[in-house]
Assembly symmetry: D3
Homo-oligomer: 150 residues x 6
């Protein structure tokens, strides 16, 4: 059951879909895990404050990944594309599962798996659009690789 | 691209999933179409006010259907269930497409198709849980049929 | 003072009111209390992660109960019904107070009181609509009783 | 049924309640009605744009009034105060009804009634707190009177 | 990157701007710091519950300060006013920085600095509008001074 | 006065700032203007539905531009950078003003001005980070130029 329902404008349909939003969110999940794992335990309010905030951001960014991917999958991907990329349903379903895993745990491996699955999705997305891609390191921490237009 | 990202609490995982929320939202979409089609055109602010509000609610309720179904599909449905119900990915993908159609149009037929697809999803959901179902008429307008536990 | 203001669509007025949404939210509050009380204390990030998330969901689900009941009370309940059910104002006021209590504490007794008050409200609601009710156990944990149409 | 659920922080309980937020929202409802009634009809996108935006703001500000008053009533008002101000339940119930009316119509009279009811609530609120009040004209359009601490 | 995007209605433009909303939010930040610092450490769920909730409210109220000030600065303050109050850009930029500081720490001094900066902004705002001001103690805890119309 | 307050996670501070989100939102504003101007007037509910939805998305995407730029300006830009880029306060203030203009009007010229101002901001942002940029055409309609890392 959801807490809020949101508007996904690309139902317009306006054609403005870009997996970068989901990729930035996936990077943010990794970043939160790194911050959580790097946090020095202390018996202070500042420690509790940081702990609580990092967990909360991990939560919202993971949900953002799931929401953004759902929009592109549900609105942009049409049955003929599914025929060409029959694995896309399982890939998206797996992104949802990885999202849940990352909400329920603090694990860099699982956060990396989420980013990789989102990159796989981005790869297919840009292929469908006929746009060549490259892998670059993100220009900010956690500096992991993302698939973007070449 | 989304306007807001939301928290879907059942990632807890708490096990509290119920398609009734999506079904009520689908009924609301039909109701908005009925209200829109029944609205007598007039050159008044009250007319414009109702028109704008019904469209806005249709928009948010349709998005709610998509969001709720995504949560149950992404969090509750596991790979072994997909093997047993291999049509579930296409069914969910179709609910997303019907959602878009209903946002882009004012059509009772399309709104009914959305409710039916959501009922099909509810049927599978309760089967997986081993709960028998029945079809009842909703206790409020538009009084269409929904699949609920017997 | 509120953080966000929300749209309650049934001001349309569309007549689609259903206390089940508040009842599911009340069940979720109980479930969070159960999860919190069952959580084994550990000096790990996963423990902190779960603790923080269960509290956050308890918070939002309790607020959801209050919000949903306010909508039905404020939009559906009219002065003539208040004459017939003069206790309804106090009942709703008490649901608000119980909501606050549940946000401020982790207490199964208080969470059960909230569900019972919401069930009382549901009973009156369905009576007003002339729909017979029954008590069933929820089809998911915490498996407590809810009042639903027969 | 609600679109979003929100957090009302004063459940903390922190004691920071101030009806001014509801009063500003009620003034905004009146302002939107004035803007809507003053809008010169034209066959242009700018006209449609303004029409749609004013209605949308009227909607959200009215909901804000209802939400803010619900919070103070539900969290700050305790049973002993209800004994002293037995009319408070009806007053709040009436604010909810006036809110619905203002969402469903474009009417300056109804918007003024909403502000007046909110002022009545503010009067009781400050009396309970032992703070003297005065009536002042708002320092911005629509320049209607609000009850504030002296 | 944001979690949600919100509507700031005064883009209408309706002329209803009031720094009191930001001031109440700044008072709430101080109040949360006071509650956090006054919280007696205990190995109980109720302790964890309060800790988590106070941090969360501090977070949202600080963001509210930033959002409200951005709206008035961005929508109400026009280039000619900037000429007259050339310090306003730095003042607003500093409010944003103080907001971040208060989210990242639990510090009464920093929370007081935030309130003072918001009061400075309120002072300029009312001067521009030609409204005389006074300093009063807030009618609720933390009872700190705010600048309001005389 | 705002409708909702939102969490801007980069207050963490996590260092994940990327103007692409604001740029995509600015492209979306242009796209909505194009769709609005291309909409053939008709006396149908589908026409009213599209009109209302395009305006609503224009509204939220414009607000998103303002919100995203505020976050980077308020959280990432520090006083020493302001010394090096003394025009940045005016640039950001102008983006806010252009945002308001675009909410209040349907104008391709004004939407283009908004995108250009956001591109100017992106240019400064990447310069501060020491990342070279290039201008590319967006890979989707409205296919206007955006400044991105080379």
């Amino acid at each position: 059951m959801n807490i809020q329902t949101v508007k996904a404008h690309c139902d317009i349909p306006c054609g403005i879909y870009d997996p970068i939003t989901a990729q930035i969110a996936a990077l943010s999940v990794i970043r939160m895990v790194d911050l959580l794992e790097g946090l020095e335990k202390a018996d202070t309010l500042n420690y509790e404050n940081s702990l609580s905030r990092y967990i909360d951001v991990k939560e919202t960014e993971t949900e953002k990944v799931k929401h953004e991917i759902r929009i592109i999958w549900g609105d942009f991907i049409k049955p003929p594309m599914v025929e060409k990329y029959p694995e896309i349903h399982s890939l998206v379903h797996n992104i949802m599962a990885l999202g849940s895993t990352n909400r329920q745990h603090v694990s860099r491996d699982k956060a990396m798996e989420l980013l990789e699955a989102v990159n796989d999705f981005a790869q297919i997305f840009w292929e469908i659009k006929g746009v060549e891609t490259k892998k670059i390191k993100a220009h900010y921490l956690p500096s992991e690789e993302i698939v973007v237009p070449a």
